[in-house]
Amino acid sequence: MAGTETKSTGGRSKAASKARGAMKNTPAIADFTKEEELKAYREMLLIRRFEEKAGQLYGMGVIGGFCHLYIGQEAVVVGMEMAKQDGDQMITSYRDHGHMIACGMDPNGVMAELAGRQGGLSKGKGGSMHMFSKEKQFYGGHGIVGAQVPLGTGLAFTNKYKENGKVSMTFFGDGAVNQGQVYESFNMAKLWNLPVIYVIENNKYGMGTSVERASSTTDLSQRGQSFGIPGVQVDGMDVRAVKAATDYAMEWCREGNGPYILEMITYRYRGHSMSDPAKYRSKDEVQKMKSEHDPIEQVRARLLEKEWATEDELKAIDKEVRGVAAGAADFAQSDAEPDPSELYTDIIL
């Protein structure tokens, strides 16, 4: 998954000069400490168990409408969360549950929102695709493919305007990468050197259409080339690779070099949404990703191999996060629906 060399023009600083050498390849993977491995393990497992529970509740009819699960892609958001500082912003598409859990939003509130209950993070009025948190600097959950890209660029605009040193992490998928507004954003982000990391979560399929069938060029990390935005491909199934690449991109942005693109090569195990039978890919393909590249299993294997955790200790973590997911499900099911009076609130201030 080596990135191609980019011709960055922005480089005067330390990170920039370092970039010329490093840019040929994905930033080197640094080994995690025991604490980092354990944190990554728990956070990814929590997202997975939460999503499995959400899928189950959907099956029971508790969750309605659209529900886009993040299972398989956990390393991307967890690795990025581990590299961010307080105040750095996140904004993403409708496949957003993992991002909210990773940035510390209350799982009960997320699940209750999925169920359309009053204790949901948007009081039940947003749904799966629309939750926000000022406190955690999470700017949504957006349902129109690609629309979050200019918005995320706007978050970076605010950072530069206020000179607050923060970085916007703007996530979008391989499907959104062909939207026109993405390139309008790239142009302005580089023109004004805005501190934004464009995170392309390439899970290989935009709904049912593979990248090869939708994109004239498939190395999406190079989509910023004509704007002078450097980018690399990253093994998005390896949480350490994600963190290392994000550390690098964060430094690049904070030093005032403008935007940076990280193409996370990842995979979603489930269908696009709940009603997707996923006939556009083979079972073998899915099975191979699960058995050879699973982001959680990779960490688990390292923890056991290095004897940083025993089977029992890992089982205890699993039990704990299962408890969180089950608790969220219980909360969501027992919570009341929003009061009818909420129909007409929060429309205008």
Binding site: G124, K125, F132, G140, G154, I347
Partner: protein, 476 residues
């Protein structure tokens, strides 16, 4: 306790399905994520994955079964350490539990049924308007103290002054758009702003409406107060997704946590001889969207006071100007901080025989028509709506209750226009006061033609207003 595996809903609309195949058999070990069965929905055949691990203890619904209701128990899963004997204890409890689990299904249907649910409990025959019942007190126009100096200025200058004053007032206010900085605005609205505020706050954008509008909405969500100038609102159609889906709906979708305090402004409607793609009034488009405010001023004083209000407003505001009015002169009060309430119409001329409601450039037809009608002995009350959303229907109704007749005047297309909405609300709320049908004078239902004579025919004119008034006063 064995775990019941329920017939899952596999699409937003699924109520039942066919159990086409069991992939796992009784006695098989199942891991979370394993495919256990295939189910045929109304859309496709879907695989069902196990959520929990264990041993498939008993299959309750055999393969081939059709029309299996969602949430029916289809199998029992034995957990670690359980054997088949656990099934016997569980089977007794499975029936009531199935009923219980049907409750969430009913709950999940509620969102679909929500629009039908009335905001307040009502008796069977009571009609409840779908419009938000919340009345916002928008306040009155500020008193202009006697002896206040009036300065005669163009609408263009008034708009510039409003922006400059608000930019002095708050560091978070900035202006962005095509040609707003060095060129000082395609229509010279931002004259002098770059010189005073610098390039950080007066920003020339590339010609990418979709992108810079979204960027500005993101900036608004994260604490700034952008003013986005569209060279004309025709080009804002490129960006309308960001204006409506991102700016107007975020407050609601976030349960009140986050909104977008932003102003979208620029010339709107027909200019002169610029053809179909550059001549359209978008007031009705934006005014139909909850979460948005829409202002369309006529005079320079109103434009100044309302633009200042729009910049301070915590909501997204669409501020519709008109190129044909930019050079018109009006008296503007010389006051330190002249801010007008958004959502308040203004009775600009009192009368008794007919109510003329207009706004923006429509006033250039309504006012001379009222003057001519007065000469003919017909007294018209003229209301400048100023704000389209929230609509000040109360001011219109008060006038209609007095005159019994209503004519609306605007340049936009007639179908689904602001006039249509005013007429609807008036008949709903003042039906018994009307002595004649409500008439509207609007642009014609055609794309704007280029030829001078056709363009003139496509736009409304003063005579049409007079004719409409004569029709409703039965004086034709």
């Amino acid at each position: 306790m064995p775990i019941e595996i329920l017939m899952p809903a596999l699409s937003p609309t699924m109520e039942e399905g066919n159990l086409s195949k069991w992939v796992k058999k009784e006695g098989d070990t199942v891991e979370a994520g394993d495919v256990i069965a295939e189910i045929e929905t109304d859309k496709a055949t879907m695989e069902v994955e196990a959520v929990d691990e264990g041993v498939l203890g008993k299959i309750l619904v055999q393969e081939g079964a059709e029309g299996v209701k969602v949430n029916t128990p289809i199998a029992m899963l034995l957990e670690e350490g359980e054997d088949a004997s656990a099934l016997e204890n569980a089977s007794a409890s499975s029936a009531p539990k199935a009923e219980e689990s049907a409750a969430p299904e009913a709950a999940a249907e509620a969102p679909a049924a929500a629009p039908a649910a009335a905001p307040q409990p009502v008796s069977e025959n009571e009609y409840v308007s779908p419009c938000a019942p919340v009345k916002i007190d928008v306040g009155q126009d500020p008193e202009i103290p006697a002896g206040t100096e009036m300065r005669n200025m163009t609408l263009r200058e008034a708009l510039r002054d409003a922006m400059a004053e608000e930019m002095r007032r708050s560091e978070n206010v900035f202006l962005m758009g095509e040609e707003v900085a060095e060129y000082e605005g395609a229509y010279k609205i931002s004259q002098g702003l770059l010189a005073e505020f610098g390039e950080k706050r007066v920003i020339d954008t590339p010609i990418t409406e979709h992108g810079f509008t979204g960027l500005a909405v993101g900036a608004a969500m994260s604490g700034l107060n952008p003013i986005v100038e569209f060279m004309t609102f025709n080009f804002a159609m490129q960006a309308i997704d960001q204006i409506i889906n991102s700016a107007a709906k975020t407050l609601y979708m976030s349960g009140g946590q986050m909104g977008a305090p932003i102003v979208f402004r620029g010339p709107n409607g027909a200019a002169s001889r610029v053809g179909a793609q550059h001549s359209q009034d978008f007031a009705a488009w934006y005014a139909s969207v909850p979460g948005m405010k829409v202002v369309q001023p006529y005079s320079a004083a109103d434009a100044k006071g309302l633009l200042k209000a729009a910049i301070r407003d915590p909501n997204p505001v669409v501020f519709l100007e008109n190129e044909m009015l930019y050079g018109n002169h009006f008296d503007v009060p010389v006051l330190d901080d002249y801010v007008l309430p958004i959502g308040r119409a203004k009775v600009v001329q009192e009368g008794t025989d007919v109510t003329l409601v207009s706004w923006g450039i429509g006033m250039t037809y309504a006012l001379p028509a009222a003057e001519e009608l007065a000469k003919q002995g017909i007294s018209a009350e003229v209301i400048d709506l100023r704000t389209i959303r929230p609509l000040d229907i109360d001011t219109i109704l008060a006038s209609v209750r007095k005159t019994g007749r209503l004519v609306t005047v605007e340049e936009a297309f007639p179908i689904c226009s602001v006039s249509s909405e005013i007429a609807y609300q008036t008949q709903e709320l003042a039906f018994d006061y009307l002595d004649a049908p409500i008439l509207r004078v609007t642009g014609k239902d055609v794309p704007m033609p280029y030829a001078a004579n056709l363009e003139k025919l496509a736009l409304p004119n003063t005579k049409e207003v007079i004719d409409a008034v004569k029709a409703v006063t039965y004086t034709a």
